[in-house]
Symmetry: D3
Amino acid sequence: MELLVVKDRRMDYDGSAIRSHWAYRNFGILGNSLVVFRGRCDVKVGEMIDIEDLRASKEIRSDNMVHYIVEVFDLVNTLFASTLQKLFIAKLCEVLGDYGVKTTRKGDDIYVNGRKLSISIATVSPVSVKVHIGINVEAKGIPEGVDAVGLRELGITDVEDFMERTGRTLVEEFEKVKKDSLKVRWAQ
Amino acid sequence: MELLVVKDRRMDYDGSAIRSHWAYRNFGILGNSLVVFRGRCDVKVGEMIDIEDLRASKEIRSDNMVHYIVEVFDLVNTLFASTLQKLFIAKLCEVLGDYGVKTTRKGDDIYVNGRKLSISIATVSPVSVKVHIGINVEAKGIPEGVDAVGLRELGITDVEDFMERTGRTLVEEFEKVKKDSLKVRWAQ
Amino acid sequence: MELLVVKDRRMDYDGSAIRSHWAYRNFGILGNSLVVFRGRCDVKVGEMIDIEDLRASKEIRSDNMVHYIVEVFDLVNTLFASTLQKLFIAKLCEVLGDYGVKTTRKGDDIYVNGRKLSISIATVSPVSVKVHIGINVEAKGIPEGVDAVGLRELGITDVEDFMERTGRTLVEEFEKVKKDSLKVRWAQ
Amino acid sequence: MELLVVKDRRMDYDGSAIRSHWAYRNFGILGNSLVVFRGRCDVKVGEMIDIEDLRASKEIRSDNMVHYIVEVFDLVNTLFASTLQKLFIAKLCEVLGDYGVKTTRKGDDIYVNGRKLSISIATVSPVSVKVHIGINVEAKGIPEGVDAVGLRELGITDVEDFMERTGRTLVEEFEKVKKDSLKVRWAQ
Amino acid sequence: MELLVVKDRRMDYDGSAIRSHWAYRNFGILGNSLVVFRGRCDVKVGEMIDIEDLRASKEIRSDNMVHYIVEVFDLVNTLFASTLQKLFIAKLCEVLGDYGVKTTRKGDDIYVNGRKLSISIATVSPVSVKVHIGINVEAKGIPEGVDAVGLRELGITDVEDFMERTGRTLVEEFEKVKKDSLKVRWAQ
Amino acid sequence: MELLVVKDRRMDYDGSAIRSHWAYRNFGILGNSLVVFRGRCDVKVGEMIDIEDLRASKEIRSDNMVHYIVEVFDLVNTLFASTLQKLFIAKLCEVLGDYGVKTTRKGDDIYVNGRKLSISIATVSPVSVKVHIGINVEAKGIPEGVDAVGLRELGITDVEDFMERTGRTLVEEFEKVKKDSLKVRWAQ
């Protein structure tokens, strides 16, 4: 899994990055990839993946987020997509723990003292598994009724360092998962 | 995923429970299952799944462990097996955190202050994904050279309650993963 | 497989219900589902799935039909879709036999005394298997040249009861198929 | 799907024909196949596929049966195996109907007036789907407690003709299923 | 794999033939197919499959080509698509060798004395594997900067015979591949 | 795909290297691999994979061969296995062409002037695709009735160089196949 942390500019997330080969089309990264970038989040209805949100007419917005776009080509399956997503969220919570931030994970949501830090979705394209994770840098521009929190409030102010560190950690987690999948014999 | 917590007796783990349909053959549990039980661990060489361990002639032993045997029939794939295993280990760490125990997860290993609390393996049979996780109740009967720790040393003395609580939590985690996999539309 | 029999209103079938997650989007039913409803049938060319029909410029129309929309997420494969479709058609014939109606099944078509009672299609979306079955309540609004028959002519006048009974029977058939798939060991 | 009806000799079924490539090893039939033969049935415990039967210590025996061994290489999946099995059983019931025999199908079991006519199992090998169906010619040598019936009692005395006719019909059914799976476009 | 060599007319390739069921929609060929035809090549940007080409804003053009459109429904996977494509290209090189033309194959490109003879792409639809191969009849209308060569320059002037011969050879190659896949037992 | 060319010793091939994880068990090579070695060939009946050979009671023997053992974990499917095998054989023929040796490939067999140079088999384990290719160094110890030829007779006397060169070329071919599979968008 190749890592790209985009630091030289802001990029907004409108949902279209969930499409297949987004990392290859935009950055020339072939194969499994994790792209970390920073920018606004405002998912257009036509790009929304979570039908539960669509049914509830939820808005998915935040003014300032760190975004993670994962693409894995090994296996095209929504159950695997959902499992990998939860593992990556759990890993992010472990890293936040290293920062001294105590989190609660509920599936693919991260909470700090009952306030929502993140959004996430996992699905498949016809050729890959895709995951988006967004972590608030600041709790601004959030849909009404959502009690949100951002990294800055939690004392994590060097956002670029956070992007770099979490990016590397998630890639290492995936490589460990992959390696372990290759070293076991099958069972009867 | 059906949960069975075996409380009325001790059962030893010799590695054969990693075979397909073990839960159905022994307990009549059809389909996805998690069986939690307690007993010794002494994996016979013929049942060892981790070829890395086989190559290193490692022993896998402990006198007193809580065992988790997971079987999932939805998808037969070692990368999925390895991902699900790591997620379950991460979840166990989160539960240990609720007990006040600070853990470090390295892939599928749980450490407390540098001491090893657990063993685990994940693989496939021709019809299912299988995961075994073992958590030391006491650090006894461990292979030489392994600096181990057990639940009791960590202050978790009501082992049956721990088995029940972790069992329920892992099943809930899986059900959430499964539910989320069904509510997302595919991406282009 | 969750069953929904829509009795409180008529719903027309224009072919768009064959898309993935139709039951979840419209009724909030997550996972495998069977939705039974009643209404006109007029499949738009852009929604036609059967390329043989498209090539022959066939029309797919009927003024009054019982419709079954099946979605299964376990396995995405057209051969499985086609097999499940034929099994469900065979089951419907068995139920019609219980009503005293003698049918002839030709693949996915049901005939009574040489007259066509039903239409059906089975395919895949990128995340699921989808099947549509339509059974004429009356042989009205049928494309010219098709010698059709409807349930009323066959003496089945309590259409709601028929919808309920067939819906339950098809779900039971699927659950039996699923259960049996889990209780067998693999063969060498 | 190639059909072989073995008429020149009796062959007993001990369960080993459920293994992969049995038709190729024994008759040189490459690819999808249906082999129909006649003989005793006495499944050895080591060859039993149905774990439910194993758990109940059931015997699977009959002195005189028509046997069908199906192998399909297109798709290796137990849910597909179980679906195809039920469709084939339903088709056999339809043919029995043409003989004037009124049957009741319960999943993969055929009953005539509450008496059991058949046995069946469906599973996977690592490379194929395998189905066995056995139909009693006479209700002899049946395990105690099973109220069985045979073809002869039902007035079907030309067993070779029955083997030929059902064999051809099942192959036609499969070819129709396969053809239909290829003529449909995918749905969104 | 059914073969169709279109000789009675010219057909241009604009990229849309890469879509699923193109052979069935246009020629009524059900299942695996190879269609060989002759005509211009001018792939519209909206139909381009190779994202590397898209990123480089490459043009894919030639005034006079023999085209091969392959569709295989057995297995939907891009690694398989890419492997089959290379094998077919290698086979075409072998046939060219029989014509006395010495070629160099680089992946899916055929060169003669450093000049490019062919273009090719392989991908999946949601239901099939699709491959396009184009071989220049004349090196005319080729994008600037590409040093191309055509069959005529190589002394192959009976293009219809070449289409027929290569078509038959590729289908035989596939049938051999398929047959061999069915005659091997699985390994432990 | 990792390459290992074993030069420091002879190793015989008895067929057991076709089993899954052979390269990892014996050389610690994790994941996709190609191991090239030299030694006798004498496949035990219990290890024979080709059922056609088993049915014909063929012997598979040669006193001096270069062996290639391929394992690919990306996709478990016999059609893919058979396709990859043919591509690798075609590539070996291309390399032999570079040596000035004119070959004829028939599926997975290499002939030089009608004499057999090679043997090969491709199959799956439950977790991988496996291919064995053997090329005679000398035509000694070959089963009676087979008109064989070896590399030495063809003027290729630096066998270690041949092993190194073909090994590298096959790995490059696979990497190209893999890369191309990742750079294409899916087709409708």
